[in-house]
């Protein structure tokens, strides 16, 4: 690497996290620590029915018997679960009925993040559920969606308004005791989005949830549930940011998706939690369980993720392919820089006949980071004619980082066709020189090459997100080339 490149690398990797500001608003917090009382406090705050509280307490008791999983290729000091605030909500004078009634500070916060809560001002049709710390502050376009029978609201609201749907589906894909963090989430989840698309309805706009951690010392435990009834379609987006802090904050979310016969759900995430500083101080611990079930025939669930933030990422958006002819997809770009650690991938569980899955994972490691792909493709004995194709590529920038690939392939049916490929590469000197020779500086050349490398995944994102994601990649990485 030439001196010139080195200085560019320095410059870029030291670029500030753009979303690191804190909003000063009054909040309503639970006392620090976790006990049955904390759970009762949260449930009480949300005025929940008894069955919900019971569900939470059951989860909490299960969690107490479980252990923090250590198999992932990440390391971090033990989390003190008693040192976390499990509930924090911006104080609002009264219940918000219209968008005009939102606290102007909050409105400003979201505007600063580039999320307009104003329906009229939005160019393209994206309905937003805005979640700050533990609660959803507003959901846009609700009435318009309701005309089609689509339910899009905060989870708290769904518990009250649609208890039959929540009781039926919540925990049906990610059981309470699925894993340590899912159990914790089940006990203390505060808010999140709920979405139900009725039979045969094609949701006319992108649905989106925007998550923001604001208050110091809090953990965020949102829970999202998407149910797509027969023959319906929805595309769902998720974004997230957090202020810059020296401490590590825990984010343990659960996302569940159910797709019935011929239904299709596209779930896209641009994850940009605060990654910590250059020395690895601060940043979000992102321990997330995301899973979908293609319960019906010919259903399809597609996960797309662009992961650039968080100090530690631990997530494996998965698909259980139960319905015959169902399809699961996972497209991922995971970028780690400085001291970030990511252990991410997917599970494709082939149970039904003629099920198909596709995995495209593009890891990019820079700085002193560690980036792991971990995936499972499992073919059950009865899954006749299952097909999987996996492509896992790693791009390394500099010789201080690591790229790891841990694919598990388990085949129990002879008619399955499984193909897995993985490569590791770097940005070639010759590629950079070629760009330079055409007048493109090294910084832009790296952005160009990285975006080209990640293109197959970025192409899966809805237009609006794709542009955002491209910029994010450029900011996270430009110039970090060896």
């Amino acid at each position: 690497m030439s001196k010139n490149d080195n200085s560019i690398l320095e410059e870029i990797t030291s670029s500030e996290y753009k979303y690191g500001f804190e909003t000063i608003i009054e909040t309503d917090n639970a006392p620090k620590g976790l006990s049955e009382d904390t759970i009762r406090f949260i449930s009480n705050k949300k005025n929940e029915p008894e069955w919900m509280l019971e569900w939470r307490l059951k989860a909490y008791r299960q969690w107490l018997t479980m252990k923090n999983p250590l198999w992932a290729n990440v390391s971090y000091p033990q989390i003190d679960f008693q040192d976390i605030i499990y509930y924090s909500a911006p104080k609002q004078k009264k219940k918000v009925n219209s968008l005009d009634e939102i606290d102007p500070e909050l409105r400003k916060t979201f505007e600063k993040l580039g999320i307009s809560l104003d329906e009229q001002k939005r160019l393209s049709g994206v309905a937003v559920d805005a979640v700050i710390d533990s609660v959803s502050v507003v959901t846009t376009f609700k009435t318009k969606l309701a005309e089609l029978g689509i339910i899009f609201c905060s989870m708290s609201e769904a518990v009250h308004e649609h208890p039959e749907l929540v009781r039926k589906y919540m925990g049906s894909v990610v059981p309470v005791n699925d894993n340590y963090f899912a159990a914790l989430n089940s006990a203390v989840f505060s808010d999140g989005s709920f979405c139900y698309i009725p039979k045969g309805v094609r949701c006319p706009m992108e649905l989106s949830t925007y998550f923001r951690i604001n208050t110091a010392g809090t953990g965020q435990f949102e829970r999202t549930l998407i149910v797509a009834d027969e023959g319906s379609y929805v595309s769902y987006l998720e974004g997230c940011t957090a202020p810059m802090r020296d401490e590590n904050q825990l984010h343990a979310a659960v996302v569940e998706i159910v797709a019935h016969d011929h239904a299709e759900v596209k779930y896209s995430t641009v994850q940009n939690w605060y990654p910590g500083d250059k020395e690895g101080k601060g940043g979000i611990y992102n321990f997330v369980t995301k899973r979908g079930i293609c319960s019906g025939a010919y259903s399809k669930i597609s996960w797309t993720q662009v992961e650039t933030g968080s100090a530690i990422t631990w997530k494996y958006p998965s698909v259980i392919l139960k319905g015959d002819h169902s399809v699961g997809e996972f497209y991922s770009v995971a970028v780690t820089n400085n001291r970030q650690q990511a252990d991410t991938g997917t599970k494709m569980i082939h149970i039904g006949k003629h099920t198909r899955s596709r995995i495209v994972s593009k890891g990019i490691s820079a700085g002193k980071s560690q980036n792991s792909y971990r995936g499972l493709v499992q073919v059950f004995k009865r899954a006749e004619q299952a097909r999987n194709f996996s492509q896992c590529d790693s791009l390394l920038m500099g010789d201080q980082c690591g790229a790891h690939t841990f694919p598990y392939i388990e085949v129990n049916n002879p008619s399955a066709q499984i193909e897995h490929e993985a490569t590791t590469s770097k940005i070639g000197e010759d590629q950079l020189f070629y760009c330079n020779q055409r007048g493109i500086d090294t910084e832009s050349a790296v952005a160009l090459i990285v975006n080209g490398y990640a293109k197959e995944v970025l192409n899966q994102l809805p237009m609006e997100f794709a542009v955002e994601a491209q910029k994010l990649l450029a900011v996270s990485l430009e110039g970090s080339v060896g």
């Binding site: 010789d399 790891h404 690939t405 841990f406 129990n412 499984i418 897995h420 490569t423």
Partner: protein, 433 residues
């Protein structure tokens, strides 16, 4: 240790009996094996809860009552050996029966006595040479199986080649012939000094319908510019267990071709560790496994690129029939210093029966940026289009399948240099399909 559970009771007894047996006599490798870890702890016996043993259960093995005594029938062994085409070649032929060197059946080249012989012979002839190799795999010792081997240290192959020398082809036969269940924990020690060269074939087979177990450790040091060709052939029956470690350390510009052919056994677990401790190394690892019935083969390979400018190339193929299960776990490490590494790995499987299964986990761990690494894994059936093509040319469905299966295996077999050996393996494949 009182932690033994009913499933490991027999192991516990076996270990106790081994200890008692060894306390009564001086071991031929006495003085050389002192630093080896022999603290077998039955409570640490691998189970499927261990990531490294996720798909491979040793439960059946731990429920066998192994005897310390074995009797063999030389006549039977002789006729078996004579049926092997390569036994007749001009070469070193070292025959070990039930863990001990069988001089009657063996044929050595006396002029090469100091370079090629049994480990026990070299231990008294050139102990200082063996001392350099024995225990090099210790840092990598990861389970109780190795400790049992360290404790017993049955006789095995020793090659101690000085600078620039080339040894005559070596064939090793590790045989078990016993009326009672019996286990062999052989130890091979090989050191090729600078620019030395040799070719080794190690063949494992057992007789009778009693359970038997091979648990060998092979330690190999390949110095700069030396060249080794090593072929492992496992042809056990459905009562045979195999759990082995081959640990190889290579220096600058050395070359290795390693082949592992597994055609039979109830449970085969091969650990192959390749430490590339030098630059401009060339390493090839090939594997072919084809099982049927209720059996399992598990190939665990580790390639550790520690220095820049080396190449490794790994190619394993599996053909799973009956209720058999094929496991492949290939790990490639590229350390920070190992820039300009080229590491390739491929694992391809064909599943022929509805009850067979394949578990594969190719793994890359890369800490250097200027490298070219890739792995690929596939599992599938024979190509229907190809079968149809052959049938349209007049072959029966079975013939077409057999032909394509053999072609699939042939890609590995053709990499083996010895024609007699290739012929033998092809014959094994022909019998199967």
């Amino acid at each position: 240790m009182n932690l033994a559970t009913p499933t490991t009771d027999l192991l516990h007894h076996y270990h106790a009996a081994l200890l008692e047996h060894h306390s009564m006599m001086t071991h031929p490798l006495h003085g050389l094996s002192d630093q080896l870890n022999k603290d077998f702890d039955v409570s640490k016996w691998p189970t499927t809860r261990h990531e490294e043993w996720k798909y491979t259960s040793l439960k059946a093995l731990s429920q066998i009552e192994f005897s310390l005594e074995a009797s063999s029938d030389s006549k039977k062994l002789k006729s078996y050996l004579e049926s092997l085409p390569f036994y007749h070649t001009e070469a070193h032929h070292l025959v070990f029966v039930n863990g001990l060197f069988h001089s009657e059946l063996s044929r050595l080249i006396p002029s090469e006595e100091k370079t090629v012989s049994s480990t026990y012979v070299h231990a008294s002839l050139i102990p200082e040479q063996l001392a350099k190799v024995i225990g090099i795999s210790c840092p990598a010792e990861r389970d109780e199986l190795r400790k049992l081997n360290n404790l017993v240290l049955h006789d095995g192959l020793s090659i101690q080649l000085p600078k620039g020398q080339t040894a005559t082809q070596v064939y090793v036969y590790q045989l078990i012939d016993s009326e009672q269940p019996f286990a062999v924990h052989s130890r091979n020690l090989i050191h090729l000094a600078e620019n030395a060269e040799c070719k080794v074939v190690e063949h494992f087979a057992a007789f009778g319908n009693k359970s038997h177990w091979f648990n060998p450790t092979t330690e190999i040091q390949i110095d700069a510019h030396a060249r080794l060709e090593y072929c492992l052939i496992q042809t056990q029956s459905d009562v045979g267990f195999f759990t082995g470690l081959s640990y190889l350390r290579q220096s600058d510009s050395s070359q290795l071709s390693h082949h592992t052919i597994s055609t039979g056994g109830r449970l085969i677990r091969n650990n192959l560790d390749l430490i590339l401790d030098g630059s401009h190394i060339e390493s090839h690892m090939n594997g072919l496994y084809m099982l049927t019935n209720d059996t399992l083969v598990d190939n665990h390979t580790l390639v550790d690129h520690q220095r820049p400018h080396s190449n490794s190339n790994e190619f394993y193929k599996g053909i799973m029939d009956g209720k058999s299960c094929g496991v492949f776990n290939g790990k490639i490490f590229v350390r920070q210093a190992a820039q300009k590494t080229n590491a390739f790995q491929s694992n391809r499987n064909i599943v022929l029966s509805p009850d067979a299964s394949v578990y594969t986990k190719p793994q890359l761990e890369i800490f250097a940026d200027d490298v070219k690494c890739s792995h690929g894994a596939t599992s599938g059936q024979l190509d229907e289009e190809s079968i149809f093509y052959l049938r349209s040319r007049g072959l029966s469905h079975a013939q077409a399948k057999a032909l394509l299966t053999k072609a699939f295996a042939g890609e590995i077999v053709e990499r083996i240099p010895q024609p007699e050996l290739r012929a033998y393996i092809e014959q094994q494949i022909d019998q199967r399909f």
